[in-house]
Structure formats: structure tokens, C-alpha cells
Symmetry: C2
Subunit: 169 residues, 2 copies
Amino acid sequence: MTKRMLKDALIELLKKKDIYHVSIRELCEAADVNRTTFYKYYGSQFDLLADMENDLLEFIMKTIRKNEEDAEKIVAGVCEYLEENLEFARLIINNNVDPDFAHKLFAMDAIKQSVYERFSAGKSDDEIEYIYNFLTYGAFRTVCAWLNKEERESPAELGRLISQMISNG
Amino acid sequence: MTKRMLKDALIELLKKKDIYHVSIRELCEAADVNRTTFYKYYGSQFDLLADMENDLLEFIMKTIRKNEEDAEKIVAGVCEYLEENLEFARLIINNNVDPDFAHKLFAMDAIKQSVYERFSAGKSDDEIEYIYNFLTYGAFRTVCAWLNKEERESPAELGRLISQMISNG
DNA sequence: TATTATAATAAACATGTGTTGATTAAACAA
DNA sequence: TTGTTTAATCAACACATGTTTATTATAATA
């Protein structure tokens, strides 16, 4: 598949330079794909990276949905997968092409629900929405910091820490 | 000043299209600045935008540092300024050129200190660092959501809400 | 005033971008 | 096999990018 070759080539190139300095020409050359073909699928390097981001998201969603128990288990599950694909995950996270990636990663019913259950008492819808935003992005950033560390706690431990922060402790 | 003209021109262009579709040629034309001159100062559109981001940060820091009291007042102060420059602030926030913008915005001693005072008991340095990350990015995202709303609460109210979320309530 | 840094312009060049229209290759059903 | 559809290539195009080298304004200073 052509798309696969382009993605693989981009991963290689991103080890040497950041996304802004990857030219479409060299990308196509590395992937051995015609430049016209690239434009048939993507509009830019960023588009391609965004597509790879979605691959990651989809895979995580599939992996996770089996055991949608509580927030702690979900976060731990996500982290486990991210750690298994450490290089790629770091690459996606640190190139932040999509400002809504955090939202997509943690916008799961199970999490939203647990936020509502925990915090909805006596709060307006607007306030709850703020809280939900606050928590998902806080959690996301925590996961990023964790991923970029060399000596990481276990995914389970981080899940515990984050769910503790969410319900505060 | 040449830089000023480039910045003003970019603001105008960003009202019509996003940063990826602003060409340096048209930018220079709009600013009435030679293209070579542009490259003397900046490497790309993104560079220019990042510089504008720093302007915003610096101004906020100057405005805020007078009354570095508690987290609530600081957040309220930041929001107040952002609201006064609503168009520009939205533009910067929604174009997220710098993934560390959140950190820069809230990485103030007063905030860090209040996090430490509130949460350091019985926690390792690593944990505290996670918490600090969690809270600053959560707060940042909340401010973003607030800024993008049409009918916003007052800055003081948001400051209250965020400081509540930080110390949990 | 003449002198000397500094900022901005201008022309030009090789390379990258995004799009077109025409051609070839591969896959598959009739 | 043939014909048909779809994917990929190729050549060529106008335009943008990033850099260089030389030239002209515009200051500030002696």
C-alpha cells in the first residue's frame, strides 16, 4: 500500500528532522512514491502526520474499549499501549499537529461519565464542561510528560496517579 | 519598524486564512516589506507567529507581576488581559504554534509555589512535577475554552473556578 | 560636512510546491 | 481473451521558497 510506504518514510525522516523541515519531495523519494500520488492522498506533510495520529487513536480505541471500566484502568490501558509503541507515540505527541489530540484521546464516555458522577452536584452545565476540559487536558499533559521520561513509572502506577488527581488527592 | 508591519499584516491575513496557507510572498506584499528583509528576521510564518506569541507573553508578565498574590488573582489577571485583546489572543491560542505556550503562560513562581504548598505533603518530587503539569495544562485549556466562548463569565469568576479546580472543589 | 555602520531593497538562482493532462500498470469481471 | 476500472507514473507548468550578491537609503557619529 502506497500510504503505508509514505508513513514509514515519514517516521524515518522525523528521526532526523522535525516535520517543518521534511519536504514532500524528499519524503516521496524516500518512500519511492511519485509526488503526484502523494498529493492524491494528502495535502501536506501535516496532513500525513495527522492521518498517522488517527491510526494511533483508532488502535488505542480498539484496544481499550474491551475493558471500559473506570478512569484509572482506562488511563493505564492507554499508557500501556503508548509505551509499547514508545518511539511512534513520542513522535506523534511531540509534533502536536492536532491541538485536539488530547480531547480525542480522552474523550471517552467512560471518562466523561465518571467526571459527571463525581462533580455534577450543584454545578451548571458550563461549569461541568470546564471541569471536563480541565481534567482531560491535565491528564493528557501528564501522560506526555510521562512518555518523555526515560525512567518511567509503570502504566498502572500512572493510571493510579492520574485518577487520583482527577478525583483529587 | 519593519517587524511591526509584518506582524500587523499577519494579523490581517490570519483573519481570512489559517497560518499554513499564508505565503511569505503575500505576507511581505501586504506588509510592504521586501522578502529578503523578512528572511533577515524570521525563518518562516510560524517563526513570526511564535514571536508574536512571545510579545503576548511578555506583556502579560509585565501586567501581572505587580500583584502576584494568589493563583486566583493571577489567573483572573491573565484572563482580563486576554479578554481585552480578544481577537489577538484567540488567534494565538487557536493557532498553537508553540506546544509549550501553556507552560510559559502559567509557569510563574506564585503558581508553582501554591501548588507545592497545597500538594507537596508526602509526595515525591516526580509526583509533584506531574501534578504541576496536570494543573497548568488543565488551567490553560480551561482558559482557551473560555476565550472561545461568545458569552463568557467574567475573568474574576473564571479565576475563582480555576483556582477552585486547582485546590479541588 | 564627510564618514561609517546599519537597515532595507533589488535581481537572480536553484530548488520546492501544487496542479494539470496524458500515459502506463494492475486488477478483475464479462 | 477482451474490455473496463482504478491506481500509479510521467512531463510540464506557473508559482513559492530560501539564499546569495550587489546596491541603495537611512541613520548616527566624528
